[in-house]
């Protein structure tokens, strides 16, 4: 907690714990026998399986087709045989999944587009390829990228923001991706810029705790006078879309509005890199970098993981547990989701596996609020979390709404910072659900 003198700071400083993995180059994860591909690895309609049990599939072969405009294709990341299509536990709960038995042949499917011609692709070709590759927001949001990159007609985009903040503690997958492949990110940016003719500037926002990545990208972008690598204060949630836009351009997205409303598009760096690889090499999104870290992990690592790999395989790659794990998270400790079963697969938006000891994951004993105002201080969207929480607990849903419950981005700073260990975000989430229910949305 730091105080700014007159105003508020809108962020918190959880210990970033990145030093466990931030110097470790990405290595290949082992690929297990059984791979699990949920048909819903994204926001939007689930994809529809187009294979049947017994079918042979190739690595990079489409196995489920997008189920609507806001949806994404699902590809098999290995070659082998479909042995089941059934409900399986996933990071977001149970979901229909296609189970592929790996034959370890790695027979490759045809590329999704002719390789080597990304530089001459038209706007429509790029968007079609991104859509075809099944690319979704890889920073965790998993919103279909082709949709994100096609703002509603009539909206001009003058600023492209590449999110390299990676503000979650422990996570280092974006850090390593930017450091090890800066040229592919810049190539992805140059591809993306084709989509926005009015584009004036491109910001790459990176937290200052990644000086080597900042340096690598400054070098890689040296020839472009409209690409700006911006060093951001290391402060959670620096990487939230709304805060990035505010911090880099001074603009504020309207409540319920799109970044395009303030002429911005924000995309995660790994997503943009995947767009480049899809267009240049014809690769669908079948692998990603995942950092596996946390006190109980014997040997934390950054791994290049084939999507669909169950978590326990990655934990094994990291030497297993040296300590009793209390919580295993898909993502970081601030916004990640708990899993109860280590058989859940890595999906397109899984940036990290974070393992916490029971002590680290302890939520503390709730006490009475002492009115320290810390939650107000750390809220990135300037809410008064304690008031919303209290309004909710008193059953005053209307008041919770007036206090801005719907504007909460659920970053978790309020619950994290509260010395009285009040479940502020939980209450705000419940308030939001109650407001939505009341308004029949």
């Amino acid at each position: 907690m730091h105080f700014s003198f007159m105003g508020k700071q809108g962020g918190a400083h959880p210990d970033d714990k990145k030093s466990r993995t931030d110097k470790k180059p990405v290595t290949n994860a082992s690929v297990p026998k059984i791979m699990v591909f949920p048909v819903s690895m994204h926001i939007g309609a689930p994809a529809k399986p187009i294979v049947e049990v017994g079918d042979k599939v190739k690595a990079g072969q489409i196995i489920a087709e997008e189920g609507g405009f806001v949806s994404a294709h699902v590809y098999s990341s290995v070659s082998g045989e479909v042995i089941a299509i059934e409900k399986r536990p996933t990071i977001g709960g149970e979901a229909e999944s296609i189970i592929v038995k790996n034959d370890y042949e790695y027979t490759k499917a045809e590329p999704i587009t002719e390789p080597g011609r990304s530089h001459e692709m038209t706007k429509d070709e790029i968007l079609a390829t991104v859509r075809k590759a099944g690319i979704v927001g890889m920073g965790g949001a998993t919103f279909p990228t082709a949709v994100k990159l096609s703002p509603p007609p009539g909206m001009t985009i003058d600023t492209l923001i590449i999110n390299g903040a990676e503000c979650e503690p422990y996570s280092t997958s974006d850090h390593r991706a930017m450091l090890e492949h800066p040229d592919e990110l810049i190539a992805g940016i140059n591809l993306t810029r084709t989509l926005f003719p009015q584009l004036q500037r491109i910001y790459i926002g990176i937290e200052e705790n990644k000086p080597d990545a900042i340096e690598a990208l400054e070098k890689a972008s040296a020839g472009y006078d409209d690409i700006f690598v911006r060093k951001l204060k290391s402060m959670y949630p620096q990487g939230s879309e709304k805060n990035l836009i505010k911090n880099l351009t001074g603009r504020e997205v309207e409540p319920g509005g799109l970044p395009a409303g303030v002429k911005c598009v924000v995309a995660n760096n790994s997503t943009i890199r995947s767009c480049y690889r899809a267009c240049e090499f014809g690769e669908p999104l079948i692998e990603r970098i995942v950092s596996v870290s946390g006190t109980p992990v014997k040997e934390p690592k950054n791994l290049l993981v084939k999507i669909g790999t169950p978590m326990d395989s990655l934990i094994d790659d990291c030497g297993g547990f040296s300590d009793v794990p209390g919580k295993v998270l898909g993502g970081g400790p601030m916004m990640g989701k708990t899993v109860s079963d280590l058989g859940v697969p890595i999906i397109k938006g899984t940036t990290a596996i974070t393992v916490l000891t029971p002590d680290e994951a302890d939520q503390g004993d709730r006490k009475d609020c002492i009115m320290c105002a810390e939650c107000i201080h750390v809220c990135p969207v300037s809410l008064q979390p304690i008031l919303i929480s209290e309004a909710f607990e008193r059953g005053n849903i209307e008041k919770a709404k007036e206090l801005g419950a719907m504007d909460c981005i659920e970053c978790g700073n309020c619950s994290f910072i509260c010395p009285s260990k009040i479940p502020l975000l939980e209450n705000i989430r419940s308030a939001k659900a109650a407001i939505k229910a009341k308004e029949g949305k």
Binding site: E252, F321, K327, G364, D368, I370, I376, E402, D407
Partner: protein
């Protein structure tokens, strides 16, 4: 995969965030208690060993009062949050060495029972318990209070400072319409260090208070803008009043309870403003009112009145200065007061 099988079924699940900061409410209270050690030592050094006795009585009374109140009303016992001890220490430190024991006890009981517990307990009270108790004591018991004495050192003054020499506090020379500093008033160094200064035992050494203030800022327990704005405001208003007579401004800044209150009283979470801009208005408000009362009143106590007035205004200030939410043009058009007794 043997490793993984071991944990299956034992993993905890739950909503994010999954980590909590180490800070707790009682840790915060402990920091303020630690920050009061320098003024307590200074009080002992200047006014004698009885200063320790006073604070021991006020603290024990405050903790005991909270304990028995909660016991008798079948409420959870909360003395473990250390907030009652903190209030008790403040009560003790804001009385003069001559204060009778019954007055110390009255102050702590009044602060903890009437101001804090009957208003809903921790985080719910509108008024700063120690300040309210001090102001009530002054209103009710002035005849037993007014004999300020000069400090006579650790062993120079006996029980309740009975051997000490009666004195006036600097404020009695520079308040009530004065615009400059008469010669009798101690110099800056004496005012800052607390040498030869009458007053409440905790407030005379500004050096000791400053150490406590810096500690609390360093520990990020108090928002630095509160003491800084409050003290600076008094300095500026006194400048306007005295046509910027630097000696007059400095003497006011270093006199009375201002430093003590700016560090330990207006930074109280519960009775202060909650919103960032509200805090600014609150601190400046205390400063302006303090200067105003010092100029217009012929008796001390202006800081106490100022704090209580701003305490009463704080919920209103907060409701008018709710932060503008990201993406909105206006502040939330609502008010919500979370203080007062729990329903």
């Amino acid at each position: 995969m043997a490793q993984a099988v071991d944990v299956q079924g034992k993993l905890r699940v739950g909503p994010s965030p999954h980590i909590r900061s180490k800070r707790t409410g009682s840790w915060v209270m402990d920091q303020v208690i630690i920050a009061m050690i320098p003024p307590l030592l200074a009080a002992t050094f200047f006014f004698g060993w009885w200063a320790l006795g006073m604070v021991a009585i006020s603290t024990a009374t405050a903790v005991g009062a909270e304990y028995f109140y909660q016991k008798l009303t079948y409420k959870p016992i909360t003395i473990g949050d250390h907030s009652a001890a903190l209030t008790g220490m403040l009560v003790g430190l804001s009385l003069p060495i001559t204060a009778p024991i019954w007055m110390i006890v009255f102050g702590s009981v009044f602060a903890v029972i009437i101001v804090k517990q009957l208003n809903g307990g921790i985080g719910r009270n509108y008024f700063n318990p120690a300040v309210a108790a001090r102001v009530v004591i002054k209103a009710l018991f002035t005849p037993w209070l007014e004999n300020w004495v000069l400090p006579a050192g650790l062993f120079g003054s006996g029980f309740r400072g009975v051997d000490a020499v009666a004195a006036a506090t600097p404020l009695s020379f520079i308040g009530d319409g004065m615009r400059s500093v008469p010669e009798e008033v101690p110099g800056f160094l004496d005012l800052f260090m607390g040498f030869n200064l009458g007053g409440n035992i905790g407030e005379t050494s500004k050096l000791a208070i400053l150490i406590g203030m810096l500690y609390l800022i360093f520990r990020r327990v108090i928002n630095p803008k509160l003491p800084i704005l409050c003290i600076t405001t008094v300095f500026v208003v006194m400048g306007l009043w005295s046509s910027f007579d630097f000696t007059f401004q400095m003497t006011h800044m270093l006199s009375g309870t201002l430093f003590f209150a700016a560090t330990y009283m207006i930074t109280d979470y519960s009775s202060g403003a909650l919103t960032p801009q509200g805090k600014t208005v609150f601190a400046v408000g205390v400063g302006v009112l303090t200067a105003f009362f010092r100029i217009t009143l012929d008796h001390p106590g202006g800081v106490g009145y100022s704090i209580l007035i701003m305490n009463a205004l704080a919920p209103f200030i907060d409701s008018k200065l709710m932060p503008k939410i990201y993406g909105h043009d206006k502040r939330p058009q609502t008010s919500f007061n979370r203080q007062g007794s729990r329903s």
